[in-house]
């Protein structure tokens, strides 16, 4: 196996592993649109990284974290429905990112790589940082598992039972921002949500507990990464979209199974 493929595989697996549990929460809490908004803002992070001449991965992570905090603050202000608010922010940040990248970058960067991912060009340093963040987020999810589930089921009940609801919810959004920052390299800003949502949705029909669903979702994600990279290697298809399509294929297969009650 050529080196670039091995590195791509390692990076993809790391992202798929953490996308399982996090994607499950995104599905349970209906946060798909939220994920989209964060992902689109990552492009803006790229621009700032170039402007301020700092590490691009760091700039993307900081951009996502910042937007996550802004969203938390805005959601407490209920003058607009959350989906409207997200719709405004999601597309404005994407548009602003596209404009900024083309105006400021002097063609130094490949826009397509950021929009659809460039997993075949990850470096050893990239792989190391992706694994580091992935494992850290998984550890945080394990640690926060019960409070996270409790607020997903009923926030007010959790509050009365002593769960610090606002803090746990903010933590979930920040974790999602981190994962989006590392997933961007793999599938790009436009397809990140797919990597979160599709494996989780596929594992719903195969499982009976929240933990099983998160775990199976991770495994399906890993399978999708392997299949997508294989398709990319043999048929020269773009890697990011091939991974997402593999996940979709797995999801379609689960539709054949009868829904567990």
């Amino acid at each position: 196996m050529p080196d670039f493929l091995l590195l791509a595989l390692l990076a993809g697996i790391a992202v798929a592993l953490v996308a399982g549990p996090l994607g499950s929460f995104a599905v349970w809490r209906r946060m798909a649109y939220f994920g989209d908004t964060l992902a689109h803002s990552a492009l803006l992070g790229v621009t700032f990284g170039l402007l301020l001449d700092i590490n691009l991965n760091l700039a993307i992570a900081l951009g996502c974290l910042l937007l996550a905090l802004i969203l938390v603050a805005l959601q407490n202000n209920r003058f607009l429905a959350t989906d409207t608010l997200l719709g405004i922010l999601s597309h404005s940040t994407l548009a602003l990112g596209l404009v900024c990248v083309s105006v400021f970058s002097d063609n130094r960067i490949d826009l397509m790589a950021y929009l659809f991912g460039d997993i075949l060009s990850v470096s050893r340093t990239d792989v190391a940082s992706i694994w580091l963040i992935s494992l850290a987020v998984i550890a945080a999810l394990v640690w926060l598992w019960r409070p996270l589930l409790a607020i997903t089921v009923h926030e007010e009940l959790a509050h009365v039972e002593g769960v610090p609801v606002a803090r746990v919810r903010t933590a979930l959004m920040l974790l999602m921002a981190l994962v989006i920052a590392i997933a961007m390299k793999v599938v790009g800003v436009l397809l990140i949500t797919a990597l979160l949502i599709i494996p989780a949705a596929a594992s719903r029909r195969l499982t009976h507990t929240p933990e099983q669903m998160a775990l199976v979702s991770s495994l399906l994600g890993v399978a999708a990464v392997c299949a997508g990279l294989a398709a990319s290697y043999w048929w020269d298809s773009p890697a990011g979209p091939a991974i997402v399509l593999s996940a979709t294929l797995l999801f379609s297969l689960t539709l054949l199974k009868r829904q567990p009650v």
Binding site: L157, V160, E161, G162, P210, P260
Partner: protein, 268 residues
Amino acid sequence: MADYLIKARGLGVNRNGRAILQRADLTVQAGKIVTLIGPNGAGKTTLVRAVLGLIKIDEGTIAKAPDLRIGYMPQKLHIDASLPLTVARFLALGGKARADLAETLALTGIDKLINMPMQSLSGGETQRVLLARALLRDPQLLVLDEPVQGVDVTGQSALYALINEIRNRRQCGVLLVSHDLHLVMATTDTVICLNQHVCCEGHPEQVTNDPAYLALFGEAVGATNPPQVAIYTHHHDHQHDTHGNVIHTKPGAHIHRHDSSCGHDHHA
């Protein structure tokens, strides 16, 4: 030891410049049942949420007994269909149980449901599971937001009997929101009628021989079973204008209204 579990004085809550709760007082003592009634939009749920610390109050004070353990049964529960969650897991999400699980399951009659997915439960079953989760905390104060809504008359009687039994056994205080303006739980110690402010407060009357009651519930309760619901008669000394502001009637012109008007727009 304080002689109250919770004591709220002069509570006021404003939303968008509109007062949705004004000067409301509420005291719940150990072993006592307090029922909150009032028309839609009267602020019953707001008052409960303020007491639970779920919303910020704009005026007034809330004093709680030290280390008060509250068991809360919310009005609604919506769990997304994508979350595979059994009743057992749902109960475990409340944290480490302080009360005996088997006993609580038997008491609430949900022992058969324990391995069912939450989304497959009927309305009445969901209510009992929510009650069990509240009871597992061995609460000193049980807060129940419309526990009998969507439950038929027999189920309603059974649930009220259960709440009364829990109160007698554990000597916990109970704060109960009722969706019905006139029929309240028979063993209620205090009824508080709310319409932005506390309109009146009193005890329910025994209704065993009330013909209207018998016509409604005669079949459901036998002569040997004491009725679980009672009529609450409103004694309002004021009326509300169309904006909900209080119009005080002149002294000496005290009006007792026992019909459904009560000077309010009582549409359930």
